[in-house]
Symmetry: C2
Subunit: 534 residues, 2 copies
Amino acid sequence: MRRRRTVVPLSASLLSASLLSVALAGFVPAVGAAPPPKIAITETAAFDAAAVAPFAGDYADVYAYLDKQGAHNLAQLQRWVRQPSISAQNKGITQMAELLRADLQQLGFRDTALVPTTGHPGVYGYYDAGAEHTLVVYMMYDVQPIEPTGWKVDAFAGSLVDEPGLGKVLMARGATNQKGPQRAFLNALDAVIKTRGKPPVNLIVLAEGEEELGSPHYPEVVAKYADTLRKADGVFFPMNTQDRDGSASMFLGVKGILYMELEAKGNPTSGGPQRAEVHGSLAAKLDSPSWRLVQALATLTGPDGEIAVPGYRDAIRAPNREEQQLFNGVVRDRAEPAKQLESLGAARWKNGRDYRAATAAELFDTTLNIDGLVAGYTGEGVKTILPHRAVAKVDSRLVPNQTPDQALALIRKRLDDQGFQDIEIRKLSGYPPAQTSVQAPLTQAALSVYRKYGQTPPVAPRIAGSAPYYVFTQTLGLPMISGGLGHGSGAHAPNEYMVVEPAKGSKIAGLAQVERFYVDLLYSLSDALKQPKK
Amino acid sequence: MRRRRTVVPLSASLLSASLLSVALAGFVPAVGAAPPPKIAITETAAFDAAAVAPFAGDYADVYAYLDKQGAHNLAQLQRWVRQPSISAQNKGITQMAELLRADLQQLGFRDTALVPTTGHPGVYGYYDAGAEHTLVVYMMYDVQPIEPTGWKVDAFAGSLVDEPGLGKVLMARGATNQKGPQRAFLNALDAVIKTRGKPPVNLIVLAEGEEELGSPHYPEVVAKYADTLRKADGVFFPMNTQDRDGSASMFLGVKGILYMELEAKGNPTSGGPQRAEVHGSLAAKLDSPSWRLVQALATLTGPDGEIAVPGYRDAIRAPNREEQQLFNGVVRDRAEPAKQLESLGAARWKNGRDYRAATAAELFDTTLNIDGLVAGYTGEGVKTILPHRAVAKVDSRLVPNQTPDQALALIRKRLDDQGFQDIEIRKLSGYPPAQTSVQAPLTQAALSVYRKYGQTPPVAPRIAGSAPYYVFTQTLGLPMISGGLGHGSGAHAPNEYMVVEPAKGSKIAGLAQVERFYVDLLYSLSDALKQPKK
């Protein structure tokens, strides 16, 4: 795992806005609760993006081209979301990979390939701009499965919907996660090439079709092009970062992930039916794999859902000075806590913690989450059976210096110590976290473009979510950032959308503005790549 | 609830075959285990059906008619199972109710009706044979839902399948539970009427379409005909009672049931997302209804799945003398324990109990069983969400003197005491147990018919399963028995079947023999109804 410096020199942009010295006040543990995370925030200074000078570049001819191409560019996004590409169910995966490759070829990527893996294929494209430096663009072309209920439109129809208070949105699976922003970036690249002949930097697009599966085979894609990739200078991932009120935010890293299935089934040692479900009345004399799973799971948390696996947080390093100052900035600059809760549909932060403690957990703590539970009869009404198997899908988000293998071993040990050797753990995915410094030229370049567009984004050291950035930051040693204007929501949920034509008075960027930002970013990052790497 | 006499005078048929004086030896509790059930068996005598004289009736003309009608009678069973009637999903319910009513009319039931309830309709039919006595025939016309995988044939095609070692079977949902034996009984009745002009007793068929839902509205059907039913003399329920090797068994009662859904969902007091699932990474700062449900469920049993609800067994009365002697007979006469385990697909009895203790629990103990569990994403592969709700379907089988309301209150109290007031319990069904004495004339009459067909059935005081017999035994005060030759399996599971043409050398009755048994039983029960009720 990449080691971060524990002391980061911060610029004059740091403000002593935070007067809080210890986080996690306001947390009242429930009776019998597991210990809450200990995250010491001793820094009082707070990072402030306002100190970064706005990007000075101006590309009026490119912007004008984008404005002219409005309808065409929107249709490009619709074309992408209309192609299903559900990695978990292998629906439309090959078609989407081929569609992406064809788009790259059409843009002028000279060298393109579908990259076979032991899972879904990757997509590779190289654009030779004859430049000294090279930017890698990470993309994911897969999407989450569709929820059986809750969608207002066909999830793959590419519908344009008028949403009160937002404006016209593209409502579709993948609209914001991640087809919308990725295709918007390619629209921007198209405009640059059409007006200026070529981009200011060589580009490598390296896409995967298994991000939503935890990127199990992306390392194979990276390995195939490792020599080429090592000569590159940085990595970028297009992303909508504006929230509903138009404020953009930035993050510098991701958590890692461990994704498992825990299964209890009938077996010789702990009993229960082994072949098939049996009549429910047999619970009088046969063991129940479902109770077994419930009891095993219950040893992993306290009654309050806090992690109860001994040593699970031992590896976690304390937030360093840069991270603490970024945290202080985030707490100061983000939307009101009540609004954040409202947007999540929740009435409180976890176990009644205060906002500061909740945010500290979001940025610095690990998790143990039940993504799914299933056993026996799950339909309407009554069916009396004793199921022969029960399965939980569980994920854990990993922060520095956790690793998937350590985390898995601790969970296995906990179950074994509690007598649940019969519970099978299947690891479906696992990779470590990743991070880039706020001082990296790439980060500063991105911030300067936000500043040009009137944004002063809070900068988080990482997001609570996961992406396989480690293949770049750790395997290849490259700085990696993500960003962009644009607003979307509903990733992994019904009615996913991206705003394409904001309501009057909204600070959300419309599609043309999103693309304009990417044009500037391309030039700004290109400049940054010429600076020595940090 | 009906109180049973605690001392039952037993006839000379009792043998002192059992030398065991205390049950539940051989149970080694696991560390931290909940206490096992305490079931004291102090009687050493064992009931033996061999002492019952074989039924002397002979109805050669009726048997001959049945033999002639073989193909037609099999087609009648196929016609019934081809009509889906899944109560839990309201599939084909009305059609099946109408089909049953039409069949009764065709048989000569003068007075028939669909009986509207607040749920699925009942079916009523009265056959006036001009007799002094009246037998009620309980029927259920609904079936269990279909399992999504595991069926070798279309569950509603009425397929005839050659099963190695068994012979020709009707493989379909409802084949044995309960359409097969019920229609076979009507075939027998048809033969009696065609050859003898009328049955020896007046008949009331009172069917329901919600047995598989826990019979929530059957009391409404009974209430409508209560005056007529009270004048009846006993109740019969046709049933396949032969096991795979041809041995028949009999039981005298059923357990009651409490069927619940336990649900955790996002709410203001224990937190979590309330509107919809959210991204799994939010587990860092939002509460999880899924963990909440797991932790709540885990307080209901020990790690070994034994009931841990305080006082849950307090109401249960000890097995009386008749029940103990029936138990001793069952333990002596049933198939080898190893064969029973094999047929259930299990390697051991619950928590390693010995066979005697497992059988005692089957007959005399309550249960707490997870029928289904569901939360979040249950499909293939990886999806990272924090579900906003999680549901468990849980049933409890009730023995004398438990009641559904007492049981529910104890579970509610347990959850409340452990801090889980936020877990919602929805009662989907609940009714008390029911029982008829082995000394009842109806029971003795049925045993005599078994004896005529070379069977000496073990007689259990009850089965582990549930049926709403209480409406007859408790509400109306009528004796009720069930029985029949015939073998089927797979109730509530894939590939449900009933043997219609047994393999050569099999002791299982073929369809014509099943019907012949019902002819004899009709006459035998008719005789018994003339005796004073016990």
